[in-house]
Symmetry: C2
Subunit: 251 residues, 2 copies
């Protein structure tokens, strides 16, 4: 990694200075982005990476530490370090904050209703960094928790990243959508921003969720990003919150 053996602390002389471990981290993120290591795979051991980059193990360690804290990698003592995957139950509920008011968590089941490709409207285009009219997939689906229909989602996806997406493939049922996107299209959701509001139920939402039009619903708008902070999905979720609530921890 551009090191001069004669000066242990030498760094790349560059206008945009950054510490060694961060350069290594960036390099590794680029490797993830390029698909060199796929979700669930083990990456090389710390020792091997240290040799490869010609730095000490502690420096590699610090790079991996940061990536693990950003949920890009998962460390498992005695086994190795692995690329995070939405299949892993550990990171399964990272993007679903809805929990039942009382009692144990029930498995969420996704019920896709429709899937079409159409030109993006102004709002969707802005959220996804597209021009109005660019093609997006539009998916409607419900989320059920043991018989209760709790969420109605309207989901917009960059069409170019999900070629041929159709209703049939979305019927994974218990598999999360992000797990499916990751496995079938190699698109990994890294982080998301959500905006929450209260809204009166529209006629369509009310019917699907079994409430009266005008009843209060929790509106959750989400933009999800892959590597490189590229927005890939925008969704509008309508949540029924009489028996479930959205849980958030302020650390």
């Amino acid at each position: 990694m551009n090191r001069d053996p004669s000066r242990p602390s030498a760094r790349v002389a560059s206008p945009t200075f950054s510490p060694l471990y961060r350069q290594i981290k960036d390099f590794m993120i680029r490797s993830l982005e390029a698909g060199e290591w796929g979700p669930g795979d083990a990456i090389p051991s710390e020792g091997e990476l240290a040799q490869r980059f010609n730095v000490s193990q502690g420096t590699v360690r610090k790079a991996i530490d940061e990536m693990a804290s950003e949920n890009l990698l998962v460390r498992r003592q005695g086994k190795g370090t692995f690329v995070a995957s939405h299949d892993d139950p550990r990171s399964f509920y990272r993007f679903l904050r809805l929990v039942p008011d009382s009692g144990e968590a029930v498995q969420a089941v996704s019920v896709p209703l429709s899937c079409v490709t159409r030109p993006a409207g102004a709002e969707v285009a802005a959220a996804l960094g597209l021009a109005a009219g660019d093609p997006v997939h539009y998916v409607e689906r419900l989320l059920r928790f043991g018989g209760d229909t709790v969420v109605f989602d309207e989901i917009y996806l960059l069409a170019e990243l999900f070629p041929g997406l159709a209703l049939a493939q979305l019927s994974g049922g218990e598999r999360s959508l992000y797990s499916l996107f990751e496995g079938d299209y190699g698109v990994r959701m890294i982080r998301a921003e959500e905006r929450l509001r209260a809204e009166p139920a529209g006629a369509h939402s009310a019917k699907l969720l079994g409430v009266r039009a005008g009843d209060p619903l929790l509106l959750v708008e989400r933009t999800a990003y892959t590597y490189g902070d590229k927005p890939v999905e925008w969704r509008r979720g309508h949540y029924r919150t009489d028996r479930f609530h959205y849980r958030n921890d302020l650390g």
Copy 2:
């Protein structure tokens, strides 16, 4: 810190094993809890702590790293490490996720309406770990953003921790409540859990927020904790979300 100089990696032989840096962290948290270092104060330098605990600087560093990532301490390069404070603008908005839909953040102003002491109801007692009937302070207040009244809060506080709390002291205006609690009563809020729902506005909320009864509001119930995960505050916030929204990042 119970080390044996003849064995560099020696640890305390104890049934509840934990690494050295974690023991040091726990010790420092107890020091914070005991008020040895107050909010805003500088703690001793890494080198001095290393000497005091008879460990290497790297070990102290790792303890401090964790505490900094939990927002208990704040590092400032070249200056030192400081006890986090709600006065610090950096951690000012850590517990307020409400932001205007568009445009820049406006300073929030707190308008206290009432402050009384009364016995806790069942729900409040459960949230605060009290017996029903134990005394709590009950505070009503509004949150205004540049003329807009956006939030109506009903706040319950452990009475024993805030002796003599009265309406007059709450009129800090631009100071956050948590900053006031920390400065006037030495009670520092460390973390909080929130539960979000949509609710129809009640008559009281509707009047205060300038909406019609039955209009959808965002209901935010929060339990806030001090050191030792001790619940200290429970509040129910009614948020008007037509021009503001609750922002959440899923990392």
